[in-house]
Chain length 631, copies 2
Amino acid sequence: MMDKIKEIKQKVIESLPKKVKVKDVEFEGPFLVVYVKNPQELANADIVKKLAKDLRKRIIIRADPKSLKPKEEAEKIIRQIVPEDAKITSIFFDEEYCEVIIEAEKPGVVIGKGGSTFRKILKETGWSPRVVRTPPLKSKTIESIRSYLLSVREERKEILKRIGESINRPILHADKWVRVTFLGGAREVGRSCYLLQTPNSKILVECGINVSGNQPPYLYIPEIQPLDSIDAVVITHAHLDHCGLVPVLFKYGYRGPVYLTPPTRDLMVLLQLDFIEVASREGTTIPYESHWIRTALKHCITLDYGVVTDIAPDVRLTFYNAGHILGSAIAHFHIGEGLYNIAFTGDFKFERTRLFDKAETNFPRLEALIMEATYGGSQDFQPSRKEAEENLIRIVNETISKGGKVLIPAFAVGRSQEVMIVLEEAIRTKKIDEVPVYIDGMIYEATAIHTAYPEYLNAHLRDLIFHQGINPFISESFVRVDSPSKRQEVIDSSEPCVIISTSGMLNGGPVMEYFRALAGDEKNTIVFVGYQAEGTLGRRIQKGWKEVPFTVDGRREVVKVNMRVETVDGFSGHSDRRQLMNYVKALSDKPEKIITVHGEESKCIDLASSIYKTYKIETRAPMNLETIRFI
Amino acid sequence: MMDKIKEIKQKVIESLPKKVKVKDVEFEGPFLVVYVKNPQELANADIVKKLAKDLRKRIIIRADPKSLKPKEEAEKIIRQIVPEDAKITSIFFDEEYCEVIIEAEKPGVVIGKGGSTFRKILKETGWSPRVVRTPPLKSKTIESIRSYLLSVREERKEILKRIGESINRPILHADKWVRVTFLGGAREVGRSCYLLQTPNSKILVECGINVSGNQPPYLYIPEIQPLDSIDAVVITHAHLDHCGLVPVLFKYGYRGPVYLTPPTRDLMVLLQLDFIEVASREGTTIPYESHWIRTALKHCITLDYGVVTDIAPDVRLTFYNAGHILGSAIAHFHIGEGLYNIAFTGDFKFERTRLFDKAETNFPRLEALIMEATYGGSQDFQPSRKEAEENLIRIVNETISKGGKVLIPAFAVGRSQEVMIVLEEAIRTKKIDEVPVYIDGMIYEATAIHTAYPEYLNAHLRDLIFHQGINPFISESFVRVDSPSKRQEVIDSSEPCVIISTSGMLNGGPVMEYFRALAGDEKNTIVFVGYQAEGTLGRRIQKGWKEVPFTVDGRREVVKVNMRVETVDGFSGHSDRRQLMNYVKALSDKPEKIITVHGEESKCIDLASSIYKTYKIETRAPMNLETIRFI
Ligand SMILES: [Zn+2]
Ligand SMILES: [Zn+2]
Ligand SMILES: [Zn+2]
Ligand SMILES: [Zn+2]
Ligand SMILES: [Zn+2]
């Protein structure tokens, strides 16, 4: 390894202009850090771009600590350089990394056109600037993640160095093959987990829990044992059926990187903490303790969409927008030097929604696609988004006009924000009377995380936020419910209102209290906007049960359901059958092989056979524990 | 483990009559050894049968060493008990095992009707008798295997004990699944290697070399790493594409059992030793040294056809006749208690041949079959055996009548013996004039091994040998060529004759000298009875080349081919297309799934699709490195 890094240092020196004085180079996860004595010489962006191209590596330039301006002086210079309207809220110096972290309301202004302001800061202070957004809503999750990562930054540096060395290890096997083993999520929804393997690398894509939360993927099979033989874990999005068991990997010995987008990291931590909290509150055994969530977090490496990154000796990863939830990604793997390209869609929506652009179809190359099939059945058509919205607005209006309350059970991440945007616009454009929209449960926190990553929202919403100054998430129509007394107030009030609350299937959470209080009155309405699994209270109500059993403080009672019960389809974050088929057609590069997963057995098989018949692409709907070879 | 064996001892005591005094019980590979102070009490066979049934284990009864008669006295008693016509050739006492090994020309007579003589020996001497056949032809291989195993018997006892404990370890995983990973031999002929896996066990079926001898199966994949995580290796037959790399497993850390039939063990050692000898003579790197062949031999556990044996906590193995070569077996695995049954055919012949009965089709239960597809193509029909024999006899007669010599290149194990039997019968029944049939190369040794295992030959041949006193293998028509001078004599003689010699494809061996000497004379004939691979000299001659290049003692020369060149199809040890299809039809239990392997890509696919179309059985023709799940 020493030789390798010496060799790379030599290449760096050769690639850079002679005047640049390279002190050291070092791996940091998938990045190559170049310590320079005179970083001001690198103020020209093209030099670094050329270096990255010459080395085929992602480069971070840092100043040699000796060439750094003292912190107080540097802060003064930064405040002078950065225009006022960037609205800097704090500046923090990280001596370990020779970095200055600038928190600002408008990070783009700190970066400057083409990174010009950034480079000016580097040139004049020696410190490498890193900019983070000051979120308009305070997110406890983001704050505690940031402060935790700062507190472990020395350990993290060691971790990243080790990961970097592993990525850059020599290639041992000359054989060329690519295969995928299905450890979970094949012919089922839940516990997604796939092993992508080459002779030299093992990549675990997803590590989820199943719906009931108690059946893990087949993590004990020899392909991934010992767990530390895995090179990298890649997570497409924060739903627990995709990432719920990542901490378990660490509990049983994994110590490698977890690659995900920045919003996925934050939402994942939020949902994992909630998962074990709910489980321990309900007295079920939890698969891991909270410190394993932190251990996993320490190993997270975030990547934005479109950035090509080495994650193993012969594997490059690029995330693309999946349109499903905030930060959701299609994971595209480039294997070998042009040998093979394979993408995992994760969950994806091939339709523009209120929040996100539709899933990406444009890949440089694509030989194989592993795609979801949740709505892969031949009858799985959903109404259009427009119809769904009109339906929802109509129902809300009808209820309000009678003086009733509308209760919308929703899962914290995804549907909640979608519905919020619809209601906000409807109120703003007077399609609905101005009534309060109460937000209860984890939804508020999840929404706060959305506001921290506006660049992950679609162009329309970004335009609204950045150029028209309208951030629908922080609209005054939304009222946060953050205490039992406040909740009681909402329930007791005689005014009409809308309540969005977790959980989405009425199997726990504050929605239960609202339902119990509101169910008896026929003026009120409950609106289901998401899938209700068999066996949940939500499903029973949806089916028309007029009396439902309830347990309150250990006492059993029966709740009479007199309220209006409505289901509004069309808000799903999953592609329906038509969108799934259209997605395959829209791909810029027609794959040779398509594998269907993340759907009931019949849906995976149906979609696979329809794709084969329609597009003459070889398809398979594998079982868990099977391995398919691609090349 | 101590508790387990105590528990079993208790069960043994409960199952046996009270008067039997059990001293100890011990695992010995898949067997349970019961040491008894008064073995004479077990002279009734039904008691041991009941014990085996109660414990669902294979039982070996041994006397407590203290109850053994002194060796000289015991030998006297044995010679009195055993009838004269058993023709005992030696008696050897193995104190370690409390066994007496009796070598006799007629082992059946030593055993007695229903084992009666056997039990009498046990009862009167205390020593457990084991009988081995005195082969009519001396086999150096068998002799050296016997003496090697005796020399390491203490170490072997330890090995068997360890294996026994491993087989009887508790079952850890409650999951129920069965899957097979293809490490070699899928969509190709050569390097057969399949991993049969359950949540609790890993069984490696075959470990062969490929045709060119330099591409091993994918032994480096994580499913079987470390190699000592494998519970058992099972070998269907001695051809090197099925067992050539077994010693490599030991070289890289495997220390578990190798299950095979007794003839397969002996032929395997013969062929492996020859393989590395030829390779080192030709200067190619050998994959293992000869001591690894001995290490593997030390771990061999032989099983006869039809004997159900525990080989892992949840796997039972039974071998059935495959009709392909001496000792060739179909390996049938019973998994769990009635959970699943899967059989690997290895290479098989579904037609009665001169040597063997046709492959077994009668299995207690069978859900899945992994079958060979060498001749799986829709056009792969072979002439009948009868036609082939008539052809061969005609060609021999035509050549002899002109005073010429017939040269038959043949692989040492399989075709050679088949052709020998045909020629012997033709000479005996005067269909061919009495000419000498010279046997050169490893064929003699392989034939000697055949004579040691007449019970592995078909009923007709056994009848001929045992009841009619005609052992065709030791007919006076056959003359062994065992020195260069003898070979020169054969070549120089002007008399007509038949020469059977290795190698079968004219890529080395003594056949080369015969060919060089005989090719120029048009009176002579070369007859190909086996497949000639592309690129071999055999193939060129078969194609009609009139001049072939030759290297003798480093000098190049050209050999003119004036001799008659003939190919006689129909002697193959593989089932042709019709036989493959008929085999599936003839199975006593129709499997749910059939997997085709051991054939070129097109043949595997063609056979799979024909079986599906004809019998509506789900089929697959997997690729190497793929995994198929069965339940
Ligand atoms: Zn385990
Ligand atoms: Zn999802
Ligand atoms: Zn999902
Ligand atoms: Zn064979
Ligand atoms: Zn074979």
